[in-house]
């Protein structure tokens, strides 16, 4: 069930504007689950849902002086979540396309039977989902390296971590992705072998 608006919303917002944490937690409790559920469905990621809802509520707190200008807080919260969710979804689709193009170019070099090719979409999605399921730092490192083609040194610099740590993250990320692929393909076929090879030397 979705959240119902408060009866005395204006009073609650006034208390939040005055810095009342308890009123803020009431607002949070009334809306967080509906919003997080929405972002989760929209982006397909629990982690992203948490991140976006967190960001939105922090923003509400930071801008609490202006809260009283808002007529319908529920709609306002929804729109903040929706815009962030849509932009994440687009980003995810863009990354997926990049991954797909990259994998496709590798596959094209080897002739495959048609019915094997038909399975590749499934594998792209499995790999993409495996990437999305990585812990956030590992994921960041992996995306920068494989989808944005940064060098290990550049990534280390950008994230203020050592090159050794970057390498460690890459190793762990590749291992989990490979395991997901293996787990998913109960029938071993040539594509799988190809992909395992592809991920080991990528």
């Amino acid at each position: 069930m979705a959240a119902q608006p408060f009866k005395e919303e204006h009073k609650l917002l006034k208390r939040i504007a005055e810095g009342d944490e308890r009123a803020f937690s009431q607002l949070f409790d009334n809306y967080y689950r509906t919003l997080a559920d929405f972002v989760f469905r929209l982006t397909g990621s629990l982690e992203v849902a948490e991140e976006i809802v967190q960001e939105v509520f922090v923003k509400i707190w930071e801008k609490r002086d202006e809260l009283l200008k808002i007529k319908k807080i529920g709609d306002y919260l929804f729109i903040l979540c929706r815009n962030r969710g849509v932009s994440y979804l687009r980003q995810r689709a863009r990354d997926y396309m990049r991954l797909r193009a990259y994998a496709q170019s590798e596959i094209n070099e080897i002739e495959l039977e048609n019915h094997h090719l038909a399975r590749t979409e499934r594998l792209y999605v499995i790999i993409e989902q495996a990437i999305c399921a990585l812990p956030s730092q590992q994921q960041k490192v992996f995306r920068l390296a494989k989808l944005n083609h940064f060098s290990h040194a550049e990534i280390a610099n950008q994230l203020s971590i050592s090159v050794e740590t970057v390498k460690k993250h890459m190793k762990l990320a590749l291992r989990s992705i490979r395991e997901s692929v293996k787990e998913n393909e109960y029938a071993i076929n040539s594509i799988l072998i190809l992909f395992l090879w592809f991920f080991s030397c990528m």
Binding site: F38, R41, Q54, R82, H115, V125, I126, S180, E183
Partner: protein, 386 residues
């Protein structure tokens, strides 16, 4: 269908978590050229349309999420909840204490009974149910995140997994996706085989007083003998009370029934809180089958070994209807099977199917008695036609 309608269709599948890999692929490809406003409008529409549906975001994540907001937003906590309480307590004296004690008693009451605890266990199970669609690997989910993936071939040691996760309260759910099968060992060394497309939710503090599990799908249990406290297997509509025994439970949401088959020992069947039938103990070699339509429980003799043949990667058929065979095969192989052959789906088969064989070969065995036919396989879709 034009592109706009197709986009909406794919959006709706993605939003309801029902998109297949192929549809996700198509969806992501379509999104590239779609302006933000279009996606925002779709998001708005499906948010409004889905207002009555169940929330997938687990409420257990509330504390963690709120703590992060307090932390990142640098939000000052109120001046001590506990101090407030003590102040009030002093003012109203013992009367307040008595009222508080009664109130706490009333509040706790529903959770102390078996029925009550079932609520939270069932909640956890329901909250994790979407993982059946989400994951394609055998996975364990704790109160919050994924605890770990396990190889389908190895025995999953539940105590070990929950210990690694460091979670001591709440529940964990083991998800076995379609096309997989898994063997688990519970903390009391009871064994559970989970069939394709099944989930088992167990308390992380699994012990003598807290030993109820919730099953969606099919599982075969070998429960170590208990002298005093029973073990409970809960499903949406049937509770099974166990004193140390082996039995099979099938409770797939998309089947018309829930059934329990006893191989050895003793189990007792009880109705879930929403149903009403007499508790009944069944004997080895019998099954209790609850028909979800008329809510009636039927006890009958069966060859129990056949019912657990799936644990040995076999499917034993005894006058089993074609439609049921195809449903089972599609779960086991995670495939969509389409019978364009036009056979009467009520026709029955008897015999043994070897589930280590590829699905095409298994289907051949079933359809070979019918002369001309062909099987076309595209990805996970098998179409049988003349």
């Amino acid at each position: 269908m034009n592109e706009k309608d197709r986009l909406e269709q794919l959006f709706s599948l993605f939003y309801s978590q029902n998109a297949s890999a192929k549809e996700i692929d198509e969806f992501f490809r379509l999104i590239e050229d779609v302006p933000n406003e279009v996606l925002e409008a779709l998001a708005h529409k499906y948010f409004e349309a889905g207002k009555e549906q169940e929330l997938l975001f687990p409420s257990q994540l509330r504390e963690r999420l709120y703590a992060k907001i307090i932390d990142v937003g640098n939000i000052p906590a109120p001046d001590g909840d506990r101090n407030n309480f003590i102040r009030h307590f002093a003012r109203f004296g013992w009367a307040a204490a008595v009222i508080a004690a009664i109130l706490i008693g009333v509040l706790l009451y529903p959770w102390t009974g078996r029925q009550g605890r079932d609520g939270t266990l069932a909640d956890a199970a329901n909250k994790h149910q979407h993982y059946l669609k989400d994951t394609s690997a055998v996975q364990v989910h704790g109160t919050a995140d994924t605890v770990g993936s396990a190889l389908a071939e190895s025995v999953i040691n539940v105590a070990e997994l929950t210990r690694l996760s460091g979670v001591t309260d709440g529940f964990s759910t083991i998800t076995v996706p379609y096309g997989k099968r898994s063997e688990l060992m519970l903390p009391d060394s009871s064994k559970v085989w989970l069939n394709a497309g099944s989930q088992l939710t167990i308390p992380n503090e699994f012990d003598a007083s807290n030993n109820e599990v919730f099953l969606i799908g099919e599982g075969y249990f070998e429960v170590s003998e208990r002298k005093t406290t029973p073990f409970y297997v809960r499903t949406a509509d049937m509770y099974i009370k166990v004193m140390g025994t082996s039995f099979n439970v099938s409770a797939y949401p998309d089947d018309g029934y829930t059934s329990a088959v006893l191989l050895s020992g003793k189990i007792e069947i009880e109705p879930a809180s929403t149903l009403d039938f007499q508790n009944i103990a069944i004997a080895p070699g019998t099954s209790a089958m609850l028909n979800r339509t008329d809510k009636k429980l039927k006890i009958q003799r069966v060859t129990a070994e056949d019912e657990i043949s799936w644990t040995k990667r076999q499917l034993i058929l005894k006058n089993t209807q074609l439609s049921e065979i195809l449903t089972r095969l599609s779960r086991i192989y995670n495939a969509e099977i389409v019978d364009d052959f036009g056979r009467d789906s009520a026709v029955t088969f008897s015999g043994k199917l070897d589930l280590t064989m590829p699905l095409t070969d298994v289907l051949k065995i079933i359809y070979d008695s019918n002369g001309e036919y062909q099987i076309n396989q595209i990805e996970g879709r098998y179409v049988i036609s003349k």
